[in-house]
Amino acid sequence: MMLLATFLTEILILAGIFSLLAVDLLFLRKKDATERVKSLGALASLLVIATGVILFLRGNSVQTVHALGGMWVLDPLVLFFKEVILAITLITILISMEKPFTSHISEYYALILFACLGMLFLVSAEELIMIYVALELLSVSLYILVAFHQGVPRSSEGAVKYFLFGALSSSFLYFGASYLYGLSGATNLTFLGQYLGSLPTPFGPERSLLWVAAAFILVGLGFKVAVVPFHLWAPDAYEGAPTPVTAYISTGSKLASFFILIKILLLAMKPIGGSPLHTQFGGGWEASLAIVAVFSMTLGNLVAMTQKNLKRMLAYSSIAHAGYILVGVVAATRMGIASVFYYLVVYAFTQLGAFGVVTAISAKVGGDAIEDFSGMGKRTPLLSMLMAVFILSLAGIPPLAGFFGKFYVFLSAVGRDPQGYGLMWLVVVGVANSAISLYYYLKILKQMYIVEPKEVTPLRTSGTMVLALSLCALFVIGLGIFPHPLISYLNTLLSYLPLRNL
């Protein structure tokens, strides 16, 4: 019974997946695709909402629960991220209902929910094998989803690339993890952290093995969160996938992967962090990630400038954003982690909104090149206004939530060494990049508002789409004007992360 209560969310989603498939098989096979995509979407979103509400109602009573011998943890912090993941899934489902792009509709929603299940497991995992299972569940569902755009060769191409890179990165991650296990005899993150902390410095004979392990784990995680130089799959997968799937990969998957990256690095590997400060640079993953952050931000933004396809441009922008997030990870303080969490949540809803607008508009105009968005300010003023909110938030313009995300991350990076300004160099790179990025974000606004449209017929958008996007926009504006509640809430939640090394 206890176990049932602990896994309630996951069980509900799993049961939902099978009922969804059954409903489609029994009642909806004969209906046309547009109707099926609507009714099944409605069913799936109700399911997610119900799960979210149940999780929320139970949330007040939850303190920390460990299950499966410490492999699995449920505490208010994890619960919060589960809610965020459910919200992301809900919005993804809502924007998927705009137009069918496949005839396998119940399978599509089922895979989205499987991926959701993978993320729900992932944020609860505190042990290497559990992380592996959850990550694979998530990734395999996403590989298939990328290929779901029927009759579009780019979609299959993107899926194959994503699969090859993803499988390779998993093997990197687990090769590294196996070394860690070999050295310490433990797979639990907290035990690993204790083991690494107990090693005398310099590390002695374990040292070279430890470096191999750390390097392989970093490479594996780097692929999952798509940072330079492990980003090559991202633009192709993002461009090829059906747009709602792109939205899901770039928000849900990124959020869950970053969450687990933080857990692995800060719970287990903090003792071999070294230092990213310019005065004592080197000696561990923090220094390497600082370099990765610099390249991610710079390359992501520079390449985004030259893109002609909006989804590709947003793909490169998301690589750059992963770089900004890494700045907070590198800060590796309590405040740094709080800032990363804040950034992740805000970024997820902003990016979802942006891809939602792309879905809505490209479903009507039949393309997702930037030129296809010309004159949308006249053709669909509401969607354009929403897009402007999302784009400006991504660009980090106050008073939108994206600005506070960046502000908080940079503030905590300088706060790592407040008197010596040891991380100022990274912040300067970040701020400079933020200024550069504005150029291509403004290019999108320019297409929508300044360039004259080829046609002038107004675009109609379904109510669900407008609802989903307005929710995202409200969130982005609301968190911009009142960032305080979420910031302080995340600060209290952080006490559930066993960060004894910080």
Partner: protein, 486 residues
């Protein structure tokens, strides 16, 4: 209600009301905008007259926690430096709406952006928290991109992009400086009043001062980072040029003073002589370039560069008289250049559809009111006694003379050339032979006359009764400068 934050909230509320109006309801939209402008102007006038001169210092203070974790409050207040600028914003806001009365293309979006921009400007002038100031600063800069890009003319996309990128690179510098100040102060607060009591180490000041000063200086038109300004002014629609040259560039100069000079006086002592040289280049270079323009609007654009040079020179003088001259010059130039752009864009260009000085001529016949306004603002620009420009520039030169006599003398060249280009334009546009194509011009409308008269009356009023402003400004600046540069 707090009078000062009222100006900001009213503008924002106006934008929200317009957001809810139907986009076809052009009249309702314009009236809402005008009413908002009128209320904001009245509030700023009220604040101006309620300021207690005997008491001095910051008044109308309102402080509410916003993000207490980082020492960020919604903290507003005003002294003799910010009040004239709030008042200026009120005037330009109201007259700007009047000048935009004939807008036909998507007025709803136009006025929403316009009012948001104004809200940001009011916000900057009344912020007493550095973070809040930064947020308002960006809020004021960004709508400009769309206002120029959508409703502008003459290479509008280029102008809009250049302007936005320049200004946001500037704000990136400010952002870095802001973080540095936050941590170095050791008080974990962005409160400007508290930060001004912290004595930062000298070397730190020398590094951070140029970051912040140049960051704001980009918006203030500091040479050689001014190039966005004439291009942007020319590309912008008339009422936006008014706001832009009239108020927005003052944001830059205000930030230079309020943040860079007030918080980092030792950095200022080290760097300001160099800044003063750049400002002198502003004055002389701007006026000389204005002299050779063929485009009427470019003349005014470069004249702004030149006049902002005086503001920066005054600020760099580190002298109570010079700095208060700079503040008065901000007000005076704001009104004057607002009037200039109203004349060029609305009264002349909208009727003649050319801004080429060689094609214009003899407009004093068909457009006597435009001619009158141009004479008044032109004479103020030349620094003729009896108009506001004279009082301001005189104070600046007096203040500068003590510290940089050579620069003060050089900037005299600027004044002479200014007289030359104003007279040249006056001659080319309003006198001489009337071009045949320009015989049947629509007369100046009442709305335009109201706007023109409001602005002209300010130029004359301040010119004749300068003490109304100078008492207030000097009363604040004098103790402040004495404390900063003992």
């Amino acid at each position: 209600m707090n009078l000062l934050s009222g100006t900001f909230w009213v503008s924002l509320a106006g934008a929200l009301v317009i957001l809810l109006l139907k986009k076809e309801a052009h009249r309702a939209i314009k009236w809402t905008a005008a009413l908002t402008g009128f209320i904001a102007l009245s509030l700023s006038l009220l604040a101006y007259f309620h300021y207690d001169l005997a008491f001095g210092g910051m008044q109308f203070i309102l402080k509410r926690p916003w993000i207490p974790e980082f020492g960020i409050d919604f903290h507003v207040g005003a002294d003799g430096v910010s009040l004239p600028l709030v008042l200026l914003t009120g005037f330009i806001f109201f007259t700007g709406v009047l000048i935009a009365w004939n807008i036909e293309d998507r007025p709803k979006e136009f006025f929403i952006l316009f009012l948001t921009l104004v809200a940001g400007v009011f916000g900057v002038f009344v912020s007493l928290n550095l973070f809040l100031l930064f947020v308002f600063y960006e809020l004021a800069v960004l709508p400009m991109y769309l206002l120029i890009g959508v409703w502008g003319s003459t290479r509008k996309e280029y102008g809009a992009m250049k302007l936005t990128l320049y200004l946001l690179v500037g704000s990136a510098l400010i952002f870095i400086g802001m973080l540095a100040l936050y941590f170095k102060s050791g008080i974990q607060s962005f409160d400007l009043m508290k930060l001004s009591e912290v004595r930062f180490p000298t070397n730190f000041q020398k590094i951070v001062f140029p970051l912040i000063f140049v960051g704001f200086g980009v918006l203030g038109g500091l040479w050689p980072l001014h190039t966005w300004s004439p291009v942007g002014h020319v590309a912008a629609p008339t009422s936006v040029s008014m706001l832009h040259a009239g108020v927005l560039m003052k944001l830059g100069a205000y930030g230079c003073f309020r943040v860079a000079i007030c918080l980092l006086p030792e950095g200022a002592t080290f760097w300001l002589p160099w800044i003063a040289m750049l400002a002198t280049v502003n004055i002389v270079y701007g006026s000389m370039i204005a002299m050779v323009q063929r485009d009427f609007k470019f003349v005014i654009g470069y004249s702004s560069v030149s006049h902002m040079g005086f503001v920066l020179l005054g600020l760099a003088s580190m002298d109570p008289v010079g700095v208060s001259g700079a503040v008065l010059q901000m007000f005076s130039h704001g009104i004057m250049t607002g009037l200039f752009f109203a004349i060029v864009g609305r009264m002349v260009y909208d009727r003649t559809h050319t801004r080429d000085l060689n094609e214009l001529g003899g407009l004093s016949g068909p457009l006597p009111f435009a001619n009158f306004c141009f004479i008044m603002s032109g004479f103020a620009s030349m620094g003729l006694p009896g108009l506001s420009g004279f009082v301001a520039e005189l104070q600046i030169l007096l203040g500068t003379w003590n510290r940089y006599p050579i620069l003060a003398a050089l900037s005299g060249i600027g004044i002479v050339v200014t007289a030359a280009y104003i007279l040249r334009v006056l001659h080319k546009v309003f006198y001489g032979e009337l071009n045949e194509k320009l015989h049947h011009l629509e007369p100046i409308t009442t709305v335009e006359k109201v706007a023109g008269i409001i602005l002209v009356s300010q130029l004359i009023f301040i010119g004749l009764f300068p003490f109304v402003m100078t008492n207030l400004i000097y009363g604040t600046v004098e103790p402040l400068i004495r404390r900063l540069f003992p």
